[in-house]
Symmetry: C2
Subunit: 341 residues, 2 copies
């Protein structure tokens, strides 16, 4: 059966649409009172991710409440290390961390390639439930972290401003780093294929920590693994969002994927010149614009829509911040919807 | 009297030199055991900054112990808000914070323009002591935060990954933001002039949080104030280091300053193309390279030296990380010194 709202898929296939599709990174989350209500019934974020019914329910909330043109499955990029054998935990104030970060060859050797139908059954089940509940209204986006970003957390053990331990391994023991990146990449490919098989119409790769690498290091330790994922995923359109990787835009234009996501520091016009005409672009309003009054939000959103021109999926340049008012998010979404291409 | 080692000054004046000058951001700091020894005798970082004898002593340590081609006065960018009337404190684990961040028009109105000879006498005294102790061996660099970066701390109240409160003000109340930025700029100009008057041979502006603004916002709320500072400081060469502001390199090439500092994500060749031939460039080795073995450090440092070509001051692309071994820092410095231009 066909989708009632196929704006996202048509745009990804370079087909004409009446208007641009719009969704927000982190749209299923703390901005919605209905999400916070459910969040209060469980111990932590991880418990929500692990519960397919809850994950599916919050996945649908922004479709019902905000009117976005796509749902994105509620999950976490750190499910992959866990599926490989490296468990993460949630510290009340400091967020996720790995009690035993990867340091040695032996640490890498004991990690397994994830088998999604077994290790990540809870995500696939959430996708199936969400898909059914969506009832063909809008497409469902699956996702995974980029291998470098997953590597950064696995080696550093926790979030960090510099990820200096993870980066140190790239310079100290590049072969070791490649072994781990290779295992993560294999796991990620299997995972994305399983998500598509379970019902995801589109998949996105988040390279959240792309921007802390040098151009050369990024080529060697991130982009080549993203390339492998792009080559392997032929079943659905793929979006690559590499936050801060301004220096790799020329090369990203050559990736075999459908769409490149941009953060708000990358100007749409310059980015189009570097990336070329073959890619759809996604993004990239500064999330902080949504703190402003409605007129200012409309002004900046319209400017962005004009700057991008065609082949554009409207989004923020990063996940929406949790303290943004719902009406401000709606203003952004409605401004996109009223803009005729 | 002339400087015995004038490599930095000659390079900033586009004069030929036998080799490139080298220094490191945060060279006076925790990498040196001699620094940590002094640090243990006081309560916190702020006590060191406020004590002219201690500040001068640690300023000289890297000249004596590492053989760098310049000293940089040991201080903190947050001395400016304090001189304007907004006191900062140091939390044991979390670093500096402002108990009463700036929020309203009234908060801005009560701030004064810093009078350096009075409000920042301790820094100027430290410069005079350091200058005398240096005895014309190498030039002394003074510094200040860029107005946007100082603004970010004053409004946010503390360090942050997103500085969303500070950025929110730019969109919610741009006129208010400009009022505060203007006061900071006036204070900074007076402060840099006083540092030069006290003996600084060169001054550097650190725009540490440049990279979280959009290109348009950066132009309006940061670069125009840096421009004002560049225009006002005619007494000594000025270096502008805007971390993450890759999107403003073309415009930075037009600033009336001597040198642009680059972080490690900005490739030397691309940056030279954007910035043009009129500026000296400073930087930009990835600080994490110094975790590697000596051969790897030499290899990456040599590559950087070649990539920059002429009109280059060798440095890291950010402050040196505190857990880097002293011998690794020396390896970086010595590699630059052995490289003939």
């Amino acid at each position: 059966m066909e989708l009632k709202n196929d704006l996202l898929l048509r745009t990804l296939q370079h087909q004409p649409t009446k208007r641009k599709p719009v969704w927000l990174m982190r749209q299923a989350g703390r901005i919605l009172p209905e999400y916070r209500q459910i969040r209060e019934t469980v111990r932590n974020f991880k418990d929500m991710v692990k519960n397919p019914n809850i994950a599916a329910e919050v996945t649908l909330q922004p479709v019902d409440l905000l009117g976005v043109d796509a749902a994105i499955i509620f999950s976490d990029i750190l499910v992959i290390p866990e599926a490989m054998g490296l468990t993460y935990e949630i510290a009340e104030t400091k967020g996720p961390y790995f009690p035993k970060p990867v340091q040695t060859y032996k640490d890498i050797e004991i990690l397994r390639i994830a088998e999604p139908e077994q290790d990540l059954a809870y995500v696939l089940e959430a996708i199936r439930i969400a898909k059914k509940a969506l009832n063909h209204r809008v497409p469902l986006i699956g996702f995974a972290g980029a291998p470098w970003t997953i590597f950064a957390y696995m080696v550093e053990g926790k979030g960090s401003k510099t990820f200096s331990k993870a980066k140190a391994m790239l310079y100290q023991a590049p072969q070791l780093a490649h072994q781990l990146l290779d295992k993560i990449t294999q796991s990620t490919i299997a995972y994305l294929k399983a998500q598509i098989n379970a019902g995801a119409n589109v998949v996105q790769i988040f390279d959240s920590w792309a921007g802390i690498l040098s151009p050369e290091t990024y080529q060697e330790f991130s982009l080549r693994y993203i390339q492998k994922i792009c080559e392997a995923i032929t079943e659905a359109p793929l979006i690559v969002f590499a936050k801060g990787a301004f220096f790799a835009r020329l090369e990203m234009g050559k990736l075999p994927c459908a769409c490149i996501g941009l953060d708000w520091t990358m100007h749409p016009v310059t980015s189009r010149q570097l990336i070329g005409e073959n890619k759809v672009l996604q993004g990239n309003l500064d999330p902080c614009v949504l703190y402003a009054d409605f007129d200012t939000i409309r002004k900046h959103t319209l400017q962005m829509l004009k700057d991008f021109g065609t082949k554009h999926i409207a989004n923020l340049g990063h996940g929406v911040y949790p303290d943004i008012e719902v009406d401000k998010v709606k203003c952004f979404i409605d401004t996109v919807k009223e803009f005729e291409t």
